[in-house]
């Protein structure tokens, strides 16, 4: 009963329909009883048993409609009662009558047990109940009727068990799937809502911590740095969707934005700057080379500024730093020491792309790379 209250049984409509069938079958059984009563050996017992049938039917209908009867024990009891009533034919009627007629109290009424078993436990249980009913009926008749053309009872019993059982099974499965889908949708929505809130809240607090921490300075500045890093990481996570390649093309702006930090400012247009994925990757790699160079040589306090410009036919990335710059003659010196690897790699990449790389520098004024690639 608890299950019936807490979780609506998806087979409930089937149970209701089955009770309508039960009522009709009782009316049919009553008609049959009146019609054949005069032919019975023990009429009084026949009527008594029929009263039992009606009472049991009413009880079953009530139990199934209310829900507490929808369990194995009750259905087994129903089958037992049906089989017992069928077997009582031996008692109320002569062997000849049983041989000539359908078993008392009508096959139609007996089908109720098959239907109940099928709704409760599916097609196999339904068909097994049908077989039980048929065995009882066969015992009464004393022989097995192979002539399906004249006696299709077994076929009907099996068919009813199968059909109703499958209907019940389908209803339950559909219901379960629907429930699962609804659960999934709800949990997805909840996750999204949570992530929005958590992200927004956490990002704001991290930003605040990093800001306050920097103001306080000292050891706290280190904490601030960490908070700032996490803030940026979270932001990237929240807006990570636009980093993925768009077909054959990749947004260079999205790639460059990944490098933004306290020391690196990244300025890009609002619209994505799309280049074919290979070109975008090389251009980004060259820009990263230049940024690495800044980190390595421009001094610990140096800030870098990246600017991405979409000029239609060409795309330009500028990487400027406000570091110590390269003193006159220093570059030549570096070449002598074999330390121009990074610069060479940048120029090499740009050459390969058919673009250009321009380096401007002066002592104390930082360095500036201007990388330009043509759009193909």
């Amino acid at each position: 009963m608890l299950t019936a209250v807490n979780q609506p049984d998806p087979a409930t409509p089937l149970w209701r329909a089955a009770q309508v069938f039960r009522l009709l079958s009782c009316i049919y059984a009553l008609g049959f009883q009146i019609a054949v009563n005069s032919e019975l050996d023990r009429r009084a017992i026949g009527w008594t048993l029929f009263a039992v049938l009606l009472a049991w039917s009413a009880l079953c209908a009530f139990a199934y409609l209310r829900g507490f009867g929808r369990r194995a024990a009750w259905v087994v009891a129903e089958i037992v009662v049906v089989v017992a009533l069928i077997l009582s034919t031996e008692f109320v009627a002569s062997d000849q009558w049983a041989f000539d007629n359908q078993s008392w109290p009508t096959t139609l009424w007996a089908t109720n047990a098959t239907i109940s078993a099928a709704i409760l436990s599916g097609p196999i249980a339904g068909m097994l109940a049908g077989v039980a009913v048929m065995i009882a009926s066969t015992i009464v008749k004393g022989f097995i009727n192979y002539d399906l053309g004249r006696n299709a009872t077994i076929v009907i019993e099996l068919a009813v068990g199968l059909a109703v059982g499958m209907a019940a099974q389908t209803a339950r499965r559909a219901h379960a799937e629907l429930e699962q889908a609804a659960r999934l949708a709800a949990s997805h929505q909840e996750r999204e809502r949570l992530s929005r809130q958590v992200h927004d809240g956490a990002i704001q607090v991290l930003a605040l911590v990093s800001r306050r921490g920097r103001e306080i300075g000292g050891d706290t500045a280190e904490l601030a740095e960490l908070a700032g890093e996490q803030e940026r990481a979270l932001r990237r996570l929240v807006s990570s969707a636009d980093e993925t390649p768009v077909g054959e093309e990749t947004d260079v702006g999205a790639l460059l934005r990944k490098r933004a930090s306290d020391l690196v400012s990244v300025s890009v247009p609002a619209e994505p700057v799309l280049l074919d994925t290979a070109t975008a990757g090389e251009l980004y790699a060259a820009a990263v080379n230049a940024l690495d160079n800044v980190a390595a040589h421009a001094g610990p306090e140096a800030r870098a500024y990246v600017l991405l410009e979409d000029l239609g036919d060409t795309v330009t990335v500028s990487i400027r730093d406000d570091g110590v710059g390269i003193a006159e003659g220093r570059l030549e010196e570096a070449v002598g020491e074999g330390r121009v690897g990074v610069a060479k790699s940048i120029v090499g990449r740009m050459d390969w792309l058919g673009g250009s790389a321009k380096l401007t520098t002066a002592p104390g004024c930082g360095t500036e790379w201007e990388l330009t690639v043509p759009r193909r």
Binding site: Q204, A207, D262, S267
Partner: protein, 212 residues
């Protein structure tokens, strides 16, 4: 006036401003409350977050300026809200600062905004530059003959320098201009976008019969 939907931030910004010698006349957490309060207190400067409880900062900028045209809007936002920031500039914001800015930078920015100077970051300059180029590439002239905003060579040059992190002073030195001239040029680039935006909105309204 401070507009931010996040109470921790709203309070922190308001406190910083109060400590910096400013008078915080009101705070608000959304578009509707910002409009209501701005209409009453007519703030000199509105420090505006981009993400609000009932809309975004661009909307709030437009609505606040509608009820308090003398107010100046300084956007204080997270660094990745790119399109929104551009929309806020088009709606009339004259400054943009990232939330990682220090207390000192915030104070300076509010002063500058109050004085009518444009406050910008390299990021915003990159956005504005990109927007002009987008306009130049997509819709040069339209059927209505409305002049589409474009940058002069000098303005482009200055915006590029700003986007590369040079301060107005450094740019002035490089281009042999006065500090003030550089700022005027930057402001002009903002204003042209705003005007274009207003023209566009008005045309949209006329075309769709919303002007009656």
């Amino acid at each position: 006036m401070v507009v931010d939907d996040h109470p921790i931030w709203r309070d922190a910004v308001a406190r910083d401003l109060a400590e910096g010698g400013f008078t915080v006349v009101a705070t608000a957490d959304g578009v509707a409350s910002a409009r209501r309060r701005a209409a009453v207190v007519l703030p000199d400067v509105v420090v505006m977050d981009m993400r609000l409880s009932d809309g975004d900062g661009a909307q709030a900028t437009a609505e606040v300026l509608a009820v308090s045209p003398s107010s100046r809007i300084l956007v204080l936002s997270a660094s990745d809200e790119r399109e929104d920031v551009l929309e806020a500039v088009k709606a009339g914001a004259t400054g943009y600062l990232v939330k990682s800015a220090s207390k000192q930078e915030l104070g300076d920015a509010v002063w500058a905004t109050a004085e009518g100077r444009a406050v910008f970051t390299p990021g915003l300059a990159g956005l504005v530059l990109g927007e002009y180029r987008r306009i130049a590439q997509t819709g040069t002239t339209d059927s209505a003959g409305t002049p589409t905003p474009s940058l002069t060579e000098r303005e482009t040059e200055i915006l590029r320098h700003v986007a590369k992190g040079l301060t107005a002073k450094q740019i002035a030195t490089r281009l042999s201009l006065s500090h003030r001239t550089v700022e005027n040029h930057v402001q002009a680039t903002f204003r042209k976008l705003q005007v274009a935006n207003r023209v566009e909105l008005a045309r949209y309204a006329i075309e769709h019969g919303l002007d009656e």
